[in-house]
């Protein structure tokens, strides 16, 4: 009974402390204090994020606790830090929205839920036991349903929440079914134990393993919105408040991707070529292609970004399929860049939505004439998402392709080629947004000139700085490579 093992979970514990502070101040603070809760959370979370970069937290080696149930390593700290940065931006960007008339009463809960889901994601990534993982997963997705429903006055918000929770529970049922098969095959839920007996399991009952794997992948694919498990994504992104959508699209997705990587490599690494390599090929191709095809027609920008994020998820998966350390770094870097790019886009969308409630692409016609800075930010985000140099997205795409091809088979070349051809389609729809803003003439529906709130601007500035700097400054990627031991 060595309770000191909890001390290994520095980030989780400090996050919970942070949560408690927020929770307590929300519950017991006066009305005046209530107003500062957003700022307080941001400041605290900023400190917490910085804390993550402390050498004490990072350490230099892998630490396991609870007899292998929990693990932290520089790479895991790094991905958590990446997510923290993203969450910080989300928090800053959401300040205006949470202070709005309809939300002000619930904003404390917004921050609390956000922190708790983040805690869940930490568990997903750090847990090395399926029970911990499942709890983390649920903790990361169930409160999100409540957050999706935050816009009480909008029916879409409720619809989205209902859709989200029903499919989430369904997918977790399927996931659990898969896990039960895995358990049946290997007799344990510890990642390490499963991996140990994976080889014999694969020889004794490959079909069961494959089916179990399919179920498990689907459960994670749901979080990551891989096709065909993605169908909830667009509706939920559209219906949810923009801050929640941005959180869903980057943080939740990023953590799921990393957890996916951990599970596939650590648990099923032995049966890579036997079982899941081809499954992933199929999923990646489907995800990228179908995501792109849907994105082409979207008029609602949030929905549009939902499909774009689906296809981005496909690219993220390319980091996994390489099955090497470079892929892990590339995946983390991709997530990092994706966070900045996508949050820049959501920042603009959110700012405009908060200001005049417009989210349709046609409302953006001639935006450059009325709000040049927003338009430029949006354009940078789109270019970065599309992978245009010198913006960060180019580098992340390039590295993820490079890491995938490192695997070396001809099939991977074909896969990457398909992915690359898909980038053309994606470029097309990203350019549609740029076209609307820069080329089309403004009309009576165009967003009128306005000045966005300071916090929103800070958020966007940070994102723009990230989009411009993350790729060109090699330190980021190099240090990611070093933490994964490449």
């Amino acid at each position: 009974m060595d309770y000191s093992q909890f001390l290994a979970m520095k980030q989780e514990i400090s996050l919970l402390v942070l949560f408690l502070l927020v929770f307590l101040s929300d519950t017991f603070a006066s009305n005046r204090g209530c107003k500062t809760i957003g700022g307080l959370t941001c400041v605290l979370f900023g400190l917490f994020t910085l804390w993550g970069f402390c050498p004490v937290v990072i350490g230099s080696d892998t630490v396991t606790a609870f007899e292998g149930m929990y693990e932290t390593s520089p790479a895991i700290v790094a991905i958590k830090n990446i997510l923290n940065v993203g969450v910080l931006i989300v928090l800053i960007q959401s300040l205006k929205w949470t202070a709005s008339e309809n939300q002000v009463i619930r904003r404390g809960e917004f921050y609390e839920l956000l922190l708790l889901t983040l805690f869940g994601m930490y568990l997903m990534m750090s847990g090395r036991h399926f029970l911990v993982f499942v709890i983390g997963l649920e903790c990361a997705s169930l409160p999100l349903a409540a957050m999706v429903a935050f816009n009480k006055h909008r029916y879409e918000s409720h619809e989205a929440a209902a859709k989200y929770i029903l499919t989430a529970v369904f997918s977790s049922a399927v996931l659990l079914m898969g896990l039960s098969f895995v358990y049946g095959l290997t007799g344990s839920l510890y990642y390490g134990h499963i991996a140990d007996s994976m080889f014999s399991a694969s020889t004794s009952n490959i079909v069961m393993l494959v089916v179990a794997l399919a179920f498990v992948i689907s459960g994670l694919g749901f979080k990551l919105s891989l096709v065909p498990f993605h169908l909830w994504t667009a509706d939920v992104y559209q219906g949810a408040p923009t801050s929640v959508t941005s959180y869903l699209s980057v943080i939740s997705k990023g953590s799921a991707a990393f957890a996916f990587l951990v599970i596939l490599w650590q648990v099923f690494g032995q049966v890579y070529s036997e079982a899941w390599e081809w499954m992933l090929y199929a999923l990646i191709i489907l995800t990228i292609t179908i995501g792109n095809l849907f994105a082409i027609r979207q008029q609602n920008l949030k929905r549009f970004l939902a499909f774009s994020s689906i296809s981005q998820a496909g690219y993220i998966m390319l980091g996994i399929i390489g099955d090497n350390a470079m892929g892990e770094a590339a995946l983390m870097f991709y997530i990092l860049v994706y966070i900045f790019s996508n949050l820049a886009a959501f920042g603009v969308i959110g700012a405009i939505e908060n200001n005049c409630g417009k989210v349709s692409m046609t409302d953006y016609n001639g935006l450059y004439k009325t709000n040049p800075r927003l338009a430029v930010t949006m354009m940078l985000a789109m270019f970065s998402l599309a992978g245009i140099p010198p913006f960060a997205g180019f580098f992340s795409k390039f590295f993820i392709f490079t890491s995938a091809i490192n695997q070396g088979s001809v099939a991977i070349y074909v896969l990457v080629l398909i992915a690359l051809i898909n980038t053309i389609i994606s470029l097309y729809y990203y350019l549609l947004v740029v076209k609307a803003m820069f080329i089309k003439e403004e009309d009576e529906f165009t967003v009128a000139p306005f000045r966005s709130a300071l916090t929103e601007r800070i958020g966007m500035w940070v994102c723009v700085a990230g989009i411009l700097g993350l790729g060109l400054v090699s330190w980021f990627y190099d240090s990611l490579l070093s933490v994964v031991g490449f």
Partner: protein, 171 residues
């Protein structure tokens, strides 16, 4: 070779699980559906008992049957208008549902039965887990001990509570 009583008991449990499951999803009235769910859960609990997991059976009854089903019933009362108690299934949906269910069954059965070795395992001897052991395992930090999940799920429950409150709050 098991005892006849055991077999009969198994048959009762298994058949009631199957029967009530089917009834749960086929009955038209939502309240009946909840009732059949309750029966299914009871049967499941019985199965746990039969497999010597008495604590688990108790929890099943307490939490599932006692908590969740009640929750269902309340919510049914909250959301149902007197008039629309029954629903009619669209046949297209039915076909899709049957297809999906059968396919699921087929795939899962294929997975379980292919190279049938595992499927023929007989019930091994096992001592009933003592409450003491269960408690220790729940509070311990060693291997096969579950303090971390225990703490984690408390966070999860807290999160769900907060979420529930937010969602349920009127404004």
């Amino acid at each position: 070779m098991e005892s006849v009583g055991s077999i009969i008991m198994y048959l009762v449990i298994a058949l009631s699980i199957i029967l009530f499951s089917v009834l749960t999803v086929t009955t038209r009235k939502i309240l009946r559906s909840a009732t059949f769910l309750l029966f299914t859960l009871f049967a499941t609990a019985a199965l746990y008992f039969k497999l010597d997991y008495e604590f688990l059976g108790a929890v099943q009854i307490a939490v599932y049957a006692g908590g969740i089903v009640v929750l269902f019933v309340f919510s049914i009362f909250l959301t149902t208008h007197p008039g629309d108690s029954s629903e009619k299934l669209v046949s297209k949906k039915k076909v899709l549902g049957v297809f999906a269910a059968l396919l699921t069954f087929a795939v899962a059965a294929f997975a379980l039965l292919y190279r049938c070795g595992m499927a023929l395992t007989k019930l091994p001897e096992m001592e009933n887990p003592k409450m003491h052991e269960i408690g220790t395992a729940l509070m311990g930090t060693g291997e096969y001990q579950y303090l971390l999940p225990f703490e984690a799920i408390s966070v999860l429950l807290l999160a769900c509570i907060i979420g529930g409150v937010v969602v349920a709050r009127k404004r």
